[in-house]
Amino acid sequence: MTAFVTPTVPEKVLVVDDDQDMCWILEVALTGLGCAVTTVCSAQEAIASVALHAFPIAFVDARLPDMDGLRLIEELHSLRPAMRIIMISGYYFEDDIRILEAVQASAIDGFLAKPFQIDAIVAAVTGTSNGKHRP
């Protein structure tokens, strides 16, 4: 519960997931930490949001209706190179070759397989996991 009082919580967090319940869960969890959470359910909306606002961190689903998550991450990085991006997926596991490559290439700053631990989300936003938390 120390996460609730950590002073390093970023102000704004972007959540990109086409599953509305998942967006809701992340919103509740992150709002509880004191973050302002923006949730979007498609890659296009994510790109539009990132173009308008600088989010220090984003959680991105690996499979979106309009674009592959890894491709979206590339686009987001080109818009905001400093943004930390954590991928959340029910499709991949953390030892999937594409995920390992993406982590190695620093394309993503962390990966969480669904179902995940809320603590891992907390650790990711507070930076206590160094962005490479493995659940």
Binding site: D19, I25, P65, G90, K114, P115
Partner: protein
């Protein structure tokens, strides 16, 4: 007599000059008495330097090793003609030539005897023959080395030749099959087609191939694709038929392998999609439960979390259920009265998260829509509608119009779900209900949705049809039976 009018010398020279052979007239000592122009041309000799010379002086050295000397002396001694001998020799500056020659005894003046040597240059003739022979061998070797079965028959269908590939494929040798009917080597009932082909031999079309399975020695039957061509003589009369067959065994095995590979790849994609479909609600349930464990302060949020846990588990079990239904389709025993409008609204609510921005939804309902009831299992029918609605949304990634129309026709409820997407290519329409058919390159809901939907509707005693036109969109039409009349007790 006619001969009496001849000038013999002039006749002699004319004959000598006319005959296209080389002619030498020799005496007993084998000295040259006369030669014709042909000989002088061939040997590049001059008449004045040739006459009176001995045979070995005018022929090259290599020639002396031949039996010619001896043969001429023998002919002169015995008076017996020697016909058609063959020798090869090279005149100075001329390439190697082959001659056919005959030696004939000749009575000279004053009782002396001589011989006449007639030589023909057969080099070109021999070369031609050799070429013909080589060509025949080549053709034979083409036929023999061909991977295809090459069989020739007479116009009645009796086998004349049977190449090595035919032997290898069938196990029967040429000797065994010669003169037997080709039709006897083809499995029933296609052997009837073979006979029909020979009866209508004039109609044989070598552009068309036919598949006739062939009977082999080991009792097996192999698939063979055949092409028939007529052989005709100069007058156009059919002298036989050339039958070329391609053994399809390997091709079939390869096709099966590719098909299997495709199935496995499709299965892999479906499994990926299923994993995603299940782990999402599991993730929601798990995270909601974790939130409840100490993180949630207000009772309202707590209630919402509980709903998410239950909802997530329900969604996951619905995916599993649809998989099981797909794997084991069976009749549905426990059906209820399903309010069609409620069911459609629920389904739309579930699916609406997938709609792209700019998607409009239009309802086309009869005024009695509230009282339309179908006979079925609400969850399953909802799943069907969810699938069709998701499908429609996916067909319109940049928005469009989803139309949901409902009506009752006799004992059926008809639900039409239309999108304004690109339409389904005609070639795909027949396959879209196949479990593993997909045109999507990613693995999300890899085509299992439509086949599951189809299977569920069939279990309800209904049907699904599709209407699609390019650029205008696609409509899925679901027919399901209306609710049975229930008396008051049953309603209770």
């Amino acid at each position: 007599m006619f001969l009496a009018t001849l000038d013999y010398e002039s006749f002699f020279h004319a004959v000598m000059a006319t005959i296209p052979s080389s002619i030498l007239i020799l005496d007993e000592r084998l000295a040259v008495l006369s030669v014709n122009n042909n000989f002088l041309e061939k040997s590049r000799g001059v008449l004045s330097l040739t006459l009176g010379r001995r045979l070995h002086e005018i022929f090259p050295a290599a020639f002396q090793d031949t039996a010619l000397d001896h043969q001429i002396r023998d002919v002169i001694a015995t008076g017996r003609t020697l016909h058609r001998q063959r020798m090869t020799y090279r005149a100075p500056g001329v390439s190697l030539r082959t001659y056919s020659y005959s030696i004939c005894p000749l009575q000279l003046q004053r009782g002396r005897r001589g011989a006449i040597l007639v030589m023909d240059d057969v080099t070109d003739l021999l070369q031609l023959g050799e070429e013909v022979r080589r060509m025949q061998l080549h053709l034979a070797s083409v036929v023999e080395s061909a991977g295809d079965l090459i069989v020739s028959t007479d116009p009645q269908g009796a086998i004349m030749t049977w190449n090595t590939a035919a032997e290898k494929s069938t196990g029967y040798t040429h000797v065994e099959v010669r003169n037997s009917k080709l039709a006897d080597h083809i499995e029933e009932p296609q052997n009837q087609d073979v006979e029909a082909c020979y009866r209508g031999i004039a109609e044989i079309d070598d552009r068309r191939s036919v598949e006739w399975p062939m009977r082999c020695r080991n009792g097996e039957s192999i698939p063979v694709s055949w092409r028939l061509s007529r052989m005709t003589d100069d007058t156009g009369k059919v002298t036989g038929v050339v039958v070329v067959g391609r053994n399809l065994v390997e091709q079939r095995a390869m096709e099966a392998q590719i098909h299997q590979g495709e199935k496995l790849a499709a299965l892999g994609m479906v499994i990926g999609g299923i994993a995603h479909e299940i782990r999402n609600p599991l993730g929601v349930s798990s995270a909601a439960a974790q939130l409840m464990k100490g993180r949630i302060a207000t009772p309202i949020l707590l209630g919402e979390c509980i709903d998410k846990v239950i909802g997530g588990i329900d969604r996951a079990s619905l995916v599993v259920e649809s998989l099981l239904r797909f794997a084991r389709p069976g009749p549905i025993s426990e059906t209820t009265k399903v309010n069609v409008l409620d069911m459609l609204k629920n389904a739309l609510m579930f699916a609406s998260g997938e709609a792209a921005a700019g998607t409009a939804i239009e309802w086309k309902l009869p005024f009695i829509a509230d009282s339309l009831y179908a006979e079925g299992v609400q969850n399953l029918l909802e799943l069907v509608i969810i699938n069709f609605v998701l499908n429609a949304f996916q067909a319109m990634p940049s928005g469009g119009r989803l139309t949901i129309a409902v009506r009752r026709e006799g004992a059926e409820i008809i639900i039409e779900i239309s999108d304004t997407g690109p339409g389904i290519p005609e070639a795909h329409v027949s396959k879209i209900f196949d479990p593993f058919f997909t045109t999507r390159s990613d693995s999300r809901r890899s085509g299992l949705g439509l086949s599951v939907s189809h299977s569920i509707v069939r279990q309800h005693g209904g049907s699904v049809t599709v209407r699609s036109s390019p650029h205008e969109g696609t409509t899925f039409i679901v027919h399901i039976p209306v609710a049975r009349d229930r008396d008051m007790h049953a309603e209770e």
